[in-house]
Symmetry: C2
Amino acid sequence: MLSKKTKYGLKALTYLASMDGKEPVQIAEIAKHENISQKFLESILLTLRRNGFLGSKKGKGGGYYLIREPHEILMTSVIRVLEGPIAMVPCVSLNFYEKCDDCPDENKCSVHKLMLQVRDSALEVYRNNTLADLIS
Amino acid sequence: MLSKKTKYGLKALTYLASMDGKEPVQIAEIAKHENISQKFLESILLTLRRNGFLGSKKGKGGGYYLIREPHEILMTSVIRVLEGPIAMVPCVSLNFYEKCDDCPDENKCSVHKLMLQVRDSALEVYRNNTLADLIS
DNA sequence: TAATTCCCTATCGATTTAATAGGAATTTCA
DNA sequence: TGAAATTCCTATTAAATCGATAGGGAATTA
């Protein structure tokens, strides 16, 4: 299940991308437009800023804005920052690999085999979608 | 993230399929072989039986066994029973559809658009894999 | 009748999630 | 210079979910 954090983050990014200008947009405006709890959105935007997706400006006329072009922002990176691993089990994760406690041999594991395919198919989707693709 | 329930359920099914014979296999044997908490596995096998994947026999020499051929058991149905929806958001789910509270128009929603693709790619994997495919 | 094995419900502890609270820091502008 | 606007940051909480455990009941076998 996709977390609300990721869902809201994607919606906020899309909203900012659709604004297009580099004018800062206030949290309150995004929250209202997308029906998101303002305080919750606040923490999400902070994460996106700390991870290099957004810039911010304080004080009157302040807000958040994209610091990269929408077509440069891959869904793989957004998902990894907001949601974490794309893989459904750590033993097939590229960026968050972990060995399973129970499994003596990954290569013989049926779950591993299946989830490898699922990961690859999800990766292909995320790699083929940038923020720009989500707008139109 | 894939739940342990699903992971263990898949491992148990694979083990039963690899036995091949219609001889009942005891919970304890599966649990030991796959390093799973026996009591937890018990409840999982019960779910699989109630959903038409397994048969069972009580008393000495009892246990669980597959009641369909491995190549007839699609991953779509196993996943839906153990894990629930394949979709990452209810608004793109085929079998567990639900409207989003916040979203006024699904067709304009960027998250919807992305998650539709993710669902389709996952579905394709699950539809192309039967229990038989996981064994070899 | 005793042993074996699955059947069933309830409960628990830990973790995660979504949201809230409350104020600090910075910037703008009158 | 000071008040308003806005982001920044940490802590807390309520609810849900997950993985596991407990404890006995019911059926089957020998």
